[in-house]
């Protein structure tokens, strides 16, 4: 059996879950095993079962434990550990989100098993190997996972979701038997932050600035451009470290991963740790005064020039174009 842990937030799931299920279903077919899923979140999550069937899940467990509605990683790991004990699956997997990685780390630590995070491919067989992301995705690693069951998380945005309905389908309750101490760490509440403009994660256009922007003031023209294109502004680590932008705007290995239609990178050299954050962009336009900047080798469009001249001129041209 292959068990996929389903991350739901108040009954909603992200694409990452369907990606993980798609990897799980392929693995189940290769290993000739049934695909099962655990929904241990809020009771509203039970509304997801029809969709799980569409993705090839033939058995779903619901816990219906109200206490699991607020995130409690140890309690979730406890449920998974019990399920492993009862059902003896060959593989347990989750999407490589913050929660997915955290949960499987707890599970691996509790059961003293190996865990391969951020896998892009899985090769079952006597020698169970995986391909996983390293260096934030700029390198791939082939690794062997020795312990049983195999624990892994599925890298985001690598394998597209692909539904394939299950022939049979069965929903069961799983009694989690959780204790007070399983909730030693639990989210107490969520503080909402004021939301302004388009978020980096959702923007169709992102205008990014790096050291070449020079200072916080310099980002004004990038903001104007982003606004005209209905986009968001981001930056390199140099821009956030210097306080020109808040850290939440950082794109890259230790910042945000973006996937817009177009990323316009201004005054950014193209260090690998930055580039891995915008790999998902459909198109990249690089504006840099140095024709040798490494970013040009990873872009679709390039302009050699001083961004302090090019951006204001571009803003002007777009305004003229629109007749304002």
């Amino acid at each position: 059996m292959i068990v996929v842990w389903i991350e739901d937030q108040g009954g909603k799931v992200t694409d990452a879950v369907w990606e993980a299920l798609t990897m799980g279903r392929r693995l189940a077919q290769q290993m000739d095993q049934p695909l099962a899923a655990l929904l241990a979140g809020a009771p509203e999550a039970s509304g997801l079962t029809d969709q799980l069937k569409e993705y090839g899940v033939s058995r779903v467990w619901l816990t219906g434990d109200e206490r699991l509605a607020r995130w409690a990683p140890q309690a979730q790991a406890r449920v998974l550990a019990r399920l492993i004990e009862q059902e003896r699956p060959q593989v347990v997997l989750a999407a490589a989100t913050d929660r997915g990685n955290e949960l499987l780390a707890y599970l691996a630590a509790r059961l003293q098993l190996g865990l391969a995070t951020n896998c892009t491919e899985v090769h079952p067989g006597d020698d169970f190997t995986v391909t996983r992301l390293r260096w934030g995705g700029s390198l791939l690693e082939e690794a062997r996972l020795l312990s049983e069951p195999k624990l892994l998380t599925v890298a985001l945005h690598v394998n597209a979701p692909e539904p394939q309905p299950a022939e049979s389908f069965q929903i069961e309750q799983f009694v989690a038997q959780l204790e007070e101490r399983d909730f030693i760490i639990q989210m107490s509440k969520m503080e909402e932050s004021a939301h302004e403009g388009v978020s980096l994660a959702e923007a169709k256009v992102v205008v990014g600035g790096g050291r070449g922007v020079g200072n916080a003031e310099g980002f004004k023209s990038l903001e104007e451009l982003a606004q005209l294109l209905g986009g968001a502004v981001g930056g390199s680590r140099v821009a956030t470290n210097n306080g020109w932008r808040p850290h939440a705007d950082q794109i890259g290995q230790t910042g945000a991963q973006i996937a817009p239609e177009l990323y316009i990178a201004c005054g950014i050299s193209g260090a690998i740790q930055h580039v891995v954050g915008c790999k998902g962009a459909k198109n990249i336009l690089v504006i840099n005064k140095d024709p040798e900047a490494p970013f040009f080798a990873r872009a679709d469009y390039g302009v050699v020039g001083d961004l302090r001249e090019v951006i204001p001129a571009l803003v002007e041209a777009i305004r003229r174009e629109r007749g304002d």
Binding site: A105, L115, L139, Y301, G305, L314, A317
Partner: protein, 250 residues
Amino acid sequence: MQVLVCIKRVPDTGARLELTADGQELDTRNLEFTVSPHEECAVEEAIRLVEAQGGSATVLSLGPEAAGEQIREALAKGIERGILLETDGGEWDPAATATAIVSAIEDEAFDLVLFGNESADAGNYQVGVRVAQALGWPCVTSVKQLELESAERALAKREVPGGWELYPLTLPAVVTVKEGINSPRHPSLRGIMTAKKKEIVRLKPEKSAAQLVKLGLKKPPEGRGQIQMLGEGTAAVPQIVAALKELGVL
């Protein structure tokens, strides 16, 4: 309060990655070394906590002898003491790393152990959680704000789309942090001088059997085709506008 922070020496890759001929490692001949930005922030957080609460901070690294460089850098910023778990430089899987860290610190009385959320090179997302589990301590991961409410209580916050999740926790505890929690300081000249006199304890840890075994590294396929140059300086503006239209963003 006694704080420990764990850091890992990694190459700073710059713009191009080259692998060694056997595909086992990054070719580091032309590279400098550093630690993950998450870990730089963990070091800064440890220094600030001790500045505010009193006590002392220790930095630990498991790695080759040269990892003493990264320890020294943390000492120069204001950490009191270093522990180097010296290895022959090969890969240690996350379980073996955690086991070695736990046995090195079991007899010490730390109130808080800080980690990066994930290491820059391996990105396993698990050494901190494994250490917490082995010590039987609570752990919050992905933390971007940490407030100490008393000697025993803290509040950790994680940033998620649309807001912050709050996690109360009781010390002793493990916290793994993300870049953005603070802005790390640079070492002062005086800091660099005094760091030379600070103690680094050197231990040779025992390597437990790996469960995740690296077989080799490879480069991912380069996704992009040929670049289209749109011109130089402001003269390129009409071509940029045309390209924006073609892409349907204008």
